[in-house]
Chain length 346, copies 2
């Protein structure tokens, strides 16, 4: 068992290149004021020694880190890979690395992650759909007090100093529900996001708003509780179709739920969209490839990621920048999973 070789330090490099320590530092950090021959000589020694700067030492001394923390519910929800890719692309382009944390919507896990990220002294935080509680607010306030930028993805502005990526859930849900109304549907079921959250409130408001605008009375039985999983779609659809007077269309909380619902409907020998129309939300990459292709509200998820990270890095670089809300528009994509109702409406 050979023991690990000793790593070269900046001092070693400086000595071998016959320059001062700060010259090496300047070369590494691309600072001006070093002649080209010197630069090359230093670089050559760096290669020769296979020297890699120690990020800990540098971050400790310079009091800044080139890392950011990203906390999402779970990367296995197809919504988030796109978002994370957007974040990560921009971060990497500017030399930042990303800590990925899956909170599973679990509050204690989320807090635990935030503590961990604090130890790592990340330069900024991106938190997607989380922290809607007093403990979370406290942490956000502390970060703000420390002057550490925070970007959240969600439905409301959590903190005046945080950047919030705002999805237009109310409008979006209203829009897609209205699409069903326009097709002639009158009995429209709703498989809701997890209760208690803002998304639930907003989406529900959009759904109810569309019905009201159409002069359709809302019916509690047509609202099935759910979350963002395939299983919720299966259960929700089963529950709705068991009703004495089942809906002719279902508004699902997202594409995954819609897929689950369509799956359940198929097992009940219901055709989509002939017997029941189903809508999704998000436009995950596979939505258009499904059969039937999903009618859904597309969110510019990747762009939300790039814009979010850009805003975060801008604030890391210039702490004087203030919080803001960046609004993103979702867009109705009518595909195959919705159609006019077959029988006479009502």
């Amino acid at each position: 068992m050979e023991s690990p070789r000793k790593r070269a330090t900046m001092t070693d490099v400086a000595r071998a290149a016959r320059v001062s320590l700060q010259t090496v530092s300047a070369v590494i950090n691309g600072k001006p004021g070093i002649s080209e021959p010197t630069r090359e000589r230093v670089r050559s020694v760096i290669r020769q020694f296979d020297y890699h700067p120690n990020g800990f030492a540098s971050s400790l001394r310079a009091r800044r880190s080139f890392t950011v923390g990203v906390v999402i519910p779970t990367i296995t929800n197809p919504y988030f890979p796109e978002f994370v890719r957007g974040l990560e692309d921009v971060a990497h382009r500017q030399g930042y690395s990303v800590f990925l944390c899956n909170s599973d919507h679990d509050q204690s896990k989320e807090i635990n992650y935030l503590q961990l990220l604090r130890r790592h002294r990340v330069a900024g935080y991106v938190v997607a759909y989380g922290l809607s509680n007093s403990e979370g607010d406290r942490i956000l306030a502390e970060l703000a007090a420390d002057g550490i930028p925070v970007v959240t993805l969600g439905t409301r502005q959590l903190h005046p100093r945080a950047v919030t990526l705002l999805a237009d859930d109310v409008h979006g849900t209203k829009r897609i529900t209205t699409h069903l109304v326009e097709l002639g549907h009158r009995r429209i079921g709703f498989i809701s996001p997890p209760e208690g959250g803002d998304v639930h409130r907003h989406r529900l408001a959009g759904y109810l708003g569309a019905l009201e605008k159409a002069g359709i009375a809302a019916e509690p039985a047509l609202i099935a509780p759910g979350d963002f999983s395939v299983k919720a779609g299966q259960r929700g659809a089963a529950r709705l179709m068991k009703l004495g007077h089942p809906p002719s269309a279902i508004v699902a909380a997202n594409d995954l739920v819609a897929i689950g619902a369509i799956n359940a409907l198929r097992r009940m020998r219901k055709r989509v969209p002939e017997d029941v129309s189903v809508t999704g939300y998000d436009d995950i990459p596979l939505a258009r490839l499904f059969h039937p292709a999903l009618t859904t509200m597309a969110q510019p998820v990747h762009e939300m990621g790039t814009a979010g990270m850009a805003a975060l890095l801008a604030r890391i670089k210039d702490p004087k920048l203030t919080g803001e809300a960046i609004r993103f528009k979702s867009k109705l994509l009518v595909r195959e999973s919705t159609a006019p109702p077959l029988g006479p409406p009502g």
Copy 2:
């Protein structure tokens, strides 16, 4: 604009708690030898000061970090979220954080990431499907020389000191191709993984092996070049079906490719599986929800992640452990996308 408050240091905590510095350190790191009342007093001051240990200082001094680097092609390929979740779950349980890097199969990007991770002094590396080139081998060798554990996910053991998560691609592809043969197919197309890689070699070997075993002559025209994308499936299927004598079944490189192929076939008014059978690979979460549900080889992706991270952390904790190959078995799942050919075979 309030300026960021000054962070408390360990010294501050020690002073306020009227204990020595090392007592604070011991409390934080859960070391024995401190009385319970003292512990509580220290903890109370920590809370009061909202003190968070500085990971840089600690890592610099102790020469160890609680971070690992994960390099994958792209998290937007649905194969990887499951894998990454597996990795991350285990890492987090042991107090480690994960740097996520998307290399996009781009060699220079991959190398760039590895450099970055070296600066961060990550305690270990997980590299999925990458580094099959001399530069990569060099880096791996260097890491090994530094005594830094590496886990790779792929098809061959890259380095005797690395842990390799081995998928049984040859056998798996042979198995699923044989499934088609057993259904009665004789003309079986193949949409291949990217050429030049091991996966390509292995999968192709499996495909050809199954044909040979069945006494079917391989036909170059039935092998369409591709990669792991939906688009590759669309293109590959289009190309195969344009043949004078098109295949009655298609073996796709993975589920995404299969989905693309099915999509293209549908646009050509071919029914799956009646007119053409299509197989996938991986069993991504949505594979069973597709219509038709995909016949595919399931890989225990999440488990590959948990096992991989467990192996990595074990080696971080005990550098004397040697490299090994961990083999994972894939499993044939026959669902709806395959069926016997309609017409007379041949």
